[in-house]
Structure formats: structure tokens, C-alpha cells
Assembly symmetry: C2
Homo-oligomer: 210 residues x 2
């Protein structure tokens, strides 16, 4: 049975991305620091069919959670740095073999033909809003889960709409001081923790609506 899930690294001060996102800083200034635990993990490299990183509970978590996902949804800003009409040369941040290996639905106000990549990823551009994207992602995911990948504003929209069944926060014990906060202006959220995994670098907490 499909769950709608979202997994986000978050700082102690609540940021899921740094300020001033740009082509050089897709995660915003300092934003990469939120993901160092992932870059240290073998499970992260495996998504790219590469070797590197270390085996660890963090790494196992990445592999397990990624394997649950049958389709992804992301905001346009997570797919591309530009705004407005599409630059048709832009094929995502991830090179010719993106780590998704599954259908990816990209929210946008601008239509674009689907973009099949190597390794099983196809980017489909959805102009019908978050409900339409979710409907299509559910159909594509089969029995597996739908992941709301990011960025912050996309996850926030699904959270506000009560459409997320499981939200996993990777709590990174640093402060960023500025950037995009996940829980700003999401209304009255009430969750319950269903699984906690502690590692030396980060604390993973899975939540479901209470």
C-alpha cells in the first residue's frame, strides 16, 4: 500500500536549505553541510552506481528508504536553477544517469515534454498542481511509496494539505542561521514519532500524523 513520504535533513534551527540558492549553490549557502552525513554513506554512492562512503546505520537507512520509493515528486527549483520558460538544454542537476531510477514528477507552471534519462529515470513536468502530481505519481508508483523530494516549499505545500503519511527528519546538530525553514507557515501540525534511529552524526526520526 502506497504511503506518501518525505525525507529531509534539517538543522537545529529548522532550516532545510541555506539562503541564496543559485546554480553554484543549489542547496543555498552552507546548505551542503546538511547533507554531509549522506555524502559519508556508501548508500548514497550506490544511488549513482559509484563506490565510496562507508557502511553504517545511516547508509542502511538511505538504501532502505530509497528502495521503498516507486515515484518522486519535486518542485521546479529542485530540478533547475532557472525560472520562467524552460531552458531546453537543462536536464537536471544529476548528469545523464540521475539517482532516481524511477518516474519523477516536476511541478512547474510551464509545460515541457517528458524527459527520459538513462537508468530508468523519466522527468515528467506537471502543470496541474500538487494534487494532479500526486495522482500521477501514485499511479506510477504501483505498490511502492511516493516521495516528496523537495524543496522546502513543495514539502510544505503537501504538509499543509495533510497529504504526507510519513515525514522523516534527519536532525543535523548544527545551526545555519538563515535559509528556508520547513515548518514556517505550515499551520497547526501534530505528529507522532514512529521510529527513531540514532547515529553519531545525525538523529533520524520518522513521524506520522497524530
Amino acid at each position: 500500500m502506497t504511503s506518501v513520504i518525505s525525507n529531509l535533513s534539517i538543522s537545529l534551527d529548522g532550516y532545510v536549505a541555506g539562503p541564496n540558492q543559485s546554480i553554484d549553490n543549489p542547496l543555498g549557502e552552507q546548505g551542503l553541510r546538511l547533507h554531509e552525513w549522506m555524502f559519508a554513506s556508501a548508500g548514497f554512492y550506490r544511488l549513482f552506481d559509484e563506490e565510496g562512503g562507508e557502511e553504517s546505520p545511516d547508509s542502511d537507512l538511505i538504501t532502505r528508504d530509497w528502495n521503498r520509493i516507486g515515484a518522486h515528486i519535486m518542485g521546479r527549483n529542485m530540478f533547475a536553477p532557472g525560472r520562467g520558460e524552460w531552458d531546453m538544454e537543462w536536464r537536471g542537476w544529476w548528469g545523464e544517469v540521475p539517482p532516481y531510477h524511477a518516474p519523477v514528477f516536476v511541478l512547474s507552471h510551464y509545460p515541457r515534454e517528458p524527459l527520459p534519462m538513462d537508468g530508468g529515470t523519466t522527468f515528467t513536468f506537471v502543470t496541474g498542481g500538487i494534487d494532479d502530481a500526486l495522482k500521477r505519481a501514485r499511479a506510477a508508483a504501483g505498490e511502492r511509496d511516493v516521495s516528496i523530494g523537495g524543496g522546502a516549499s513543495t514539502v510544505r505545500q503537501y504538509l499543509k494539505a495533510g497529504l504526507i503519511d510519513e515525514l522523516t527528519l534527519h536532525i543535523v546538530p548544527i545551526t545555519l542561521g538563515a535559509g528556508e525553514r520547513l515548518f514556517d507557515d505550515v499551520g497547526d501540525v501534530k505528529l507522532r514519532p514512529t521510529e527513531v534511529l540514532a547515529s553519531p552524526a545525525v538523529t533520524h526520526i520518522a513521524y506520522r500524523p497524530d
Copy 2:
């Protein structure tokens, strides 16, 4: 060996108290919601020599952490609702037998004679600033720990000064939307989790400086 510790309940959106603190709402609007897990715990009632609440891992944690403490430090706002010169009738929020059962150092700009209460608590008013209060609390604590009790701005001052050895966050899975944030304007904090305790209501994470 004395550690300087601080234990705070914090919402998903980073608030440790609600907005508009007043004599009717000492923890700010909605602020009591951060402490419901505590009010459900037998360990909380035991601090007041009362019966109530349930035995649970949360309750054990309260008892264990409280017993480590040999002296407390708190900001004036945690002791009293008023500002300016002291209202000498005010003897704290906790009645004649406060739950501290230990010396409590209250930061203030206004001198006042020490206030001995029943049950072993004495409130001592410190006008010399956070370093002076810590020095006096260390002397009073003996081998036990010094707790920085709150509110947010007091803990923030000690955190910014690098004086906290162990910060325990009780992560309450709700949003408050407004209030006092612990990690606003604390500079570049970098911690490492040293102990994680999961309960159905709340996730307790102890951090030390990295």
C-alpha cells in the same frame, strides 16, 4: 565532576515558549503544550512530593536528570512576571515548596536579599551577570551538575558563550507557529548527539559540543 546542563522542550518549529508571556501564561500562549509529556509523568509529580502521572521512560528521564542537579540558574522572567524593581510579595511561580530542593540563582538587574523557601530551595538574586551566576552555582553544586533552567534568552546567552556542556532537547512533535526560538541568533553552533531516548510522545536527544 560538574557539567553545565540545560534541558528544554522544543517544538518542531523551534520554539521553547509561546508568544505573549504573562502572569496568566508564564510559558506564553500555547506554551503549556510543550510540557504535556512532563505533566503526564509520575517523575514530574514527585518533584512536588505529589502523586500523579504515569511511570514511563519519560518519567524515569525526568527523575534521573533532576537528581543530577546540585544548583539551578534561571532568568528573571522564569522567576517572576514583573520587570523593574522587585515586588517583594512575589515568591516565584511554585508556591511555598518549589520543586528545586536546591540553590537557585536568579539573574536580575535588581538586587534582592536571598529568599529561602521550604524544602531546601533558596532563591539567590545575582546582578553580576551570567559568569558570576555560574561561578556561584558551581560552588553551590559540589560534585553535582548546574542546570540552566530557562527561559530561552538565558539558555541562549550561555550557549553563545560556549558554557553549556550538555544540552538535552525534548523534541515535541507539534508546531507552535510563534513564540521564542532557542536557536535564533546563537551563532555557529555545532553539537554531537550523545544519547537518544525515544518515547511515543517525544524524542529526547542529549548533545555535547562537537
